[in-house]
Assembly symmetry: C2
Homo-oligomer: 347 residues x 2
């Protein structure tokens, strides 16, 4: 079968790999009908060394069950399913608390962490299928597929940022980053009742979509100028919640600049740093909280799906480019160059 491999930074190839097969009785073999490239895939695209490659890529997918292991009880051949980016048994102590990204099962990992598997491929073996996969009540060619595919990662991740920030109706929120997760954070903040949603981003096509999703203000400036503008928009004191959807240090510093005393910085951009300011003059003095982490998107799928099915929201608009597997290397390049917002892959 064909699959995506990253050899090192900037070097993505589509190659023939051994067919995925069932290995454990709790596995499902899924024929991928829709996958995509994630903003977080760009981190290795910038940084991966040749020693760490080649790596199978992709952790978001919708597909048709082709075969299930003997112990799988809730899924059968022919079911259309969405897979969260994190595998979980959904019954352990942490899964029961809706923190599936901390599932204690020894097979729990991110989808692109399974040996010799990845979502940007024709098929994938998904471990712990009963716990991980969620059935979709549509056909594989439904027009809702792009929106439903966002449940695999970006929508759930943006929603996690908003939930961990504890956004309450009437609050002021700033979203840092106009990538797909940032835009989903805007949609999520609106869903939770934020009164003001300031989107910090300067790619106009994206911030336009951000306004459609609920942003009330857009600030294109960065650094001190951007901070001053947001503080101005928020009555001088900053935002109750800052949703940080980038992961680089300047975004963290931006968040510190625009958060209100007593407020919260909720991070879902995977941090590309280890240490950061947390002392008296940054977090402590103003009782500012730091929250967030890898989103347990499994926990949010049932909650978010109905609004997609009935057309209330259309998060799938973040996909502005469609391609087949052969187009994946170009897709990485286009996302890196910000020509594409998010690339949907139909293998």
């Amino acid at each position: 079968m064909r699959a995506t491999l990253m050899y090192q930074a900037g070097d993505v190839r589509i190659e023939d790999v051994p067919d995925s097969v069932i290995r454990n009785p709790t596995d499902a073999l899924v024929r991928v009908t829709a996958s995509c490239i994630c903003g977080s895939d760009l981190h290795p695209y910038h940084q991966m060394t040749a020693e760490d490659g080649p790596a199978r890529m992709g952790h978001e997918l919708i597909g048709v069950i082709e075969e299930v292991g003997a112990d799988v009880t809730t899924l059968k051949k022919g079911d259309l399913v969405v897979s969260p980016f994190a595998i979980s048994d959904n019954v352990c102590e942490f899964c029961r608390e809706n923190l599936q990204t901390s599932c204690t099962h020894h097979e729990a990992t991110f989808l692109d962490g399974i040996a010799d598997e990845g979502g940007q491929a024709e098929a994938i073996r998904v471990p712990l299928a009963d716990g991980t996969l969620v059935k979709l009540p549509v056909a594989p060619d439904s027009a809702l597929i792009p929106s439903l595919l966002t449940l695999a990662d970006v929508f759930g991740t943006g929603y996690h940022a908003a939930k961990m920030a504890g956004i309450k109706p009437g609050q002021r929120v700033t979203v840092i980053g106009d990538g797909a997760v940032g835009l989903m954070a805007v949609l999520s903040a609106k869903r939770l009742g934020a009164e003001q949603i300031v989107l910090m981003g300067r790619h106009e096509v994206r911030t336009y979509l951000g306004r459609e999703f609920g942003a009330t203000d857009v600030v294109a400036e960065r650094g001190k100028e951007g901070i001053a503008k947001v503080r101005d928009l928020t009555g001088g004191h900053g935002s109750h919640a800052v949703l940080e959807a980038v992961g680089h240090m300047p975004a963290y510093e931006q968040a510190l600049g625009v958060v209100r005393p007593g407020g919260v910085i909720s991070r879902v951009g995977v941090p590309q740093y280890d240490d950061a300011p947390v002392g008296f003059t940054s977090l402590f003095g103003g009782n500012i909280r730091l929250a967030g982490g890898p989103a347990p998107v499994r926990a949010y799928i049932e909650e978010l799906m109905p609004d997609i099915l009935d057309g209330t929201i259309e998060p799938g608009k973040v996909f502005d480019t469609m391609t087949d597997l052969a187009g994946v290397p170009a897709g990485y390049r286009d996302m890196d160059e910000r020509k594409s917002l998010k690339v949907l892959v139909r293998p």
Copy 2:
């Protein structure tokens, strides 16, 4: 009048200073009847340079109103009051949200931040008296004074740690630090219903008092050994909440080691560092939250006082040494050498 001045690290003196007087119509002049030395006073006691001294000291006090400014409406001469360590107008946007430590009034500061004033003195001018001071329904020589004095800082600070951690009944909590604030954090965690309270500390007199306040386990070990022991006590996954009442980097690292995925590190020890680990392997990967800051103790006084008045709790047990003003320099030394837990000063 006599007051405490710190000239530099290790150099505390009692000297004659100009009498405190009313300066603004919202001031109250308070004759101090009980004050104390705070663990946070030991930070300048270790670090202050001669250029930063001499500084007036003390931010916790009970006293009798001697005079009030023309605009003070809720207090009168003769009232016994407790003063939180932070001055606040109690009506601004942040005060109304119970974040009095972020009061926007231009006179809002910590009590030892008022020019030429301090709590370890015979008297003090307290700005914004209506907003800051709280009347006490006892006499200045009441046996309850030590416990009521803890409402000025340490009890409210320990309670803030527990509140910001969002402790729920049945949870596992670890408290780092066996100083007065750490012990108050134990009492507060118990008040909020924690099922297990592990106190990390190795001063036996203090940890004994910690057990009396509600600690279910005491871990004397530090570093990796201490972390391993707490993880063992908490079923391998760590504590839902870690209350960090020290402020030094090893305490932060200890907190990272014993917090459970999805849990929270709530800091009330004033951080003696700027940057700290917050990346994927420390906070982010496990969705661990960071909370806390200077405690808005004003917000907690009415809530905590009844249990002191009716004898349900006796937080004043943290005072193991009593002295007059002349004994304050020795009090600093004894607290620094851990011979005294907390020194009560009767000027």
